[in-house]
């Protein structure tokens, strides 16, 4: 899965939804919708075609998941979710995802800080390194992690087929998210604001805590939401790395796959619906956060 900094900053449009000359800091748009016109017949047709494509590709299939999940009614839905193996999978998935997100909040901010504020030879390489988890096929990611943390590890550890493997896999694939949401915000901070705080007597730590961190919080929150969502969705890297052992290293996505392979589409859809709902919640949260941020300029 590949994403870039712009990609990880949802939503695409400023809340006022008017295109107009944007300032370089992505600030306020024109208050009046001068540059956004209403639909003409041609563009109306274009919109129809685009919506059709979007529906056939995305909307209808995702709706089918929700429909299939409700096929047997509430009781079947809860039964599918409450099966001990599924519960274990969900617990593992959510638990590790939360843990990983917590680590990412700290490390992601630290990495963004070093990228923006520090200068040393080879720093540019780090920029590419951070995006590798996004660009790398997940199955290859599994292979990559296996080489350092699996049976033939030069470190002497062997965490394959343990829950540590799940933790590592999640950590790997979620690496870029908080970094890429925080980085642009750090870049935008005017040094004058920090200088003013320093002239008023604040220490470096105080400046970070009271001046910088507050402006980073929305970015960190967005990144954390994306990171969590990505972690619970992960599949490919776990296939080779975790062994997918029921009750110990089996995650929700693997559960869904076994249901599909067993032709139990309703059960599969039930578990999938959980993941889907979380995804929707994350997207809405991000939309709300960014709208609130834009209000403060």
């Amino acid at each position: 899965m590949t994403q870039r900094a712009g990609v990880v900053e949802p939503p695409l449009l400023e809340p006022d939804d008017t295109a107009g000359a944007a300032t370089s800091s992505g600030g306020r748009r024109l208050p009046r919708g001068r540059s956004a016109t209403s639909l003409t017949p041609t563009s109306g047709l274009g919109l129809g075609v685009a919506l059709l494509w979007f529906s056939l590709l995305v909307l209808i299939p995702l709706t089918a998941v929700l429909v299939q999940a409700s096929e047997g009614g509430w009781s079947a839905y809860w039964d599918a979710l409450r099966s001990p193996q599924t519960l274990a999978a969900l617990r593992l998935t959510v638990g590790q995802a939360i843990l990983v997100t917590a680590v990412n909040v700290f490390m992601g901010t630290a990495i963004a800080w070093v990228l923006v504020r520090d200068h040393f030879p080879g720093k540019q390489v780090l920029e590419v390194v951070i995006d590798i988890p996004l660009a790398l096929p997940t199955i290859v990611a599994g292979l990559v992690l296996l080489s350092l943390y699996g049976p033939s590890s030069p470190l002497g550890v062997n965490w394959a087929n343990t829950s540590v493997a799940v933790f590592l896999a999640f950590l790997f694939v979620t690496l870029p998210f908080i970094v890429r949401t925080v980085q642009p915000v750090l870049l935008e901070i005017e040094p004058e604001v920090e200088e003013a705080a320093a002239s008023l007597g604040a220490t470096q730590f105080t400046i970070f805590r009271r001046v910088i961190l507050p402006s980073l919080t929305p970015a960190i929150a967005s990144g954390a939401a994306l990171s969590f969502c990505r972690a619970i969705s992960e599949y490919g890297s776990l296939v080779l790395l975790s062994g997918n052992l029921p009750y110990s290293t089996e995650v929700a996505s693997v559960r869904i796959l076994s249901y599909i392979e067993g032709d139990k589409l309703t059960e599969a859809a039930a578990v999938a619906s959980i993941l889907l709902i979380v995804a929707l919640v994350v997207i809405v949260t991000l939309d709300v956060i960014s709208r609130r941020v834009a209000r403060y300029g």
Partner: protein
């Protein structure tokens, strides 16, 4: 007080070491190890692996599916970007948020979703499609669909900010000089977004080449029929034998190489975003 030049540099160094160490342990070293493992027995076995018909087929299938997915997503992506930025209509905000959906959804859910709709046996549309001769699930069209799904937002997310930034003045100027909508689009808008478009296409391509979970579900992974490069890696790794292992690592290495190359292209041609004001 308690903020001396020394303590500032200590913090700086600590962070630097922490970050570099973290990234080394998590990304750099493991990736390097895979590269080493691929060539552990020299170049010859790798080249042999690349000559295997299954390997060649897998990559051809992957490339062709990725190509079509990217073409579809570019055409519709540019269209949707223009609609989102230059026009207002009811539901624009919702569409804007929904466009991000494929990035947040698990690949396994994607696979399931596509199977539910396009499966020949039980799918909503699959049955009728199969009757007119279009087999989607367990056939290349399904692979293309799955690939298109997961990489859909990438072109849009690159193009939209640029469209917003350049504003409509150039387009208005062209209009005032007599250009029609199409002429304005071809001569003014497209050239203005060409870099963003390129980035979006490169990112889409990398993403499409690397898709695993969704493709596994919709394709069935039959070698020489519907097995993509990523599925090949999985199959061969799980089989015994040195030859299979080399094939798995070789395919993985090629995929990783393409991914990193795509990244380098995008990062180096971007205007510098790493230096603060």
């Amino acid at each position: 007080m308690g903020d001396t030049a020394v303590s500032r540099t200590t913090t700086q160094w600590t962070l630097r070491v922490l970050v570099v160490g973290y990234l080394t342990l998590l990304v750099i070293w493991p990736v390097a190890l895979v590269a080493r493992e691929t060539f552990a027995h020299g170049l010859a076995p790798v080249l042999d692996a690349l000559r295997q018909p299954e390997v060649i087929f897998a990559f051809e299938l992957t490339l062709s599916a990725a190509f079509w997915a990217v073409v579809i997503n570019t055409i519709f992506g540019v269209g949707i970007s223009l609609l989102l930025v230059r026009y207002t209509f009811p539901g624009r905000r919702t569409l804007n948020a929904l466009v991000d959906l494929p990035l947040a959804v698990s690949p396994v859910v994607v696979g399931l979703a596509l199977v539910l709709v396009y499966s020949g046996r039980t799918g909503w549309l699959g049955g009728s499609l199969e009757q007119v001769g279009l087999k989607v699930i367990y056939a290349p069209p399904g692979i293309i669909l799955a690939t298109a799904f997961v990489s859909m937002p990438l072109v849009i997310r690159e193009v939209v900010p640029v469209l917003q930034e350049i504003g409509t003045e150039q387009e208005q100027a062209a209009s005032s000089l007599g250009a029609s909508g199409l002429q304005t689009f071809v001569r003014i808008t497209l050239p203005a977004i060409r870099w963003a478009l390129l980035y979006g296409v490169v990112l889409s391509l990398a993403r499409s080449l690397g898709e695993f979970g969704a493709v596994k579900i919709v394709s069935g992974g039959v070698a020489m029929r519907t097995q993509t490069a990523t599925l090949l890696v999985e199959e061969r790794y799980q089989q015994f034998g040195a030859v299979n292992s080399i094939i798995a690592y070789t395919a993985a290495f090629i995929l990783a190489l393409i991914a990193v190359l795509a990244l380098v292209v995008v990062t180096s041609f971007r205007p510098d975003k790493g230096t603060p004001r």
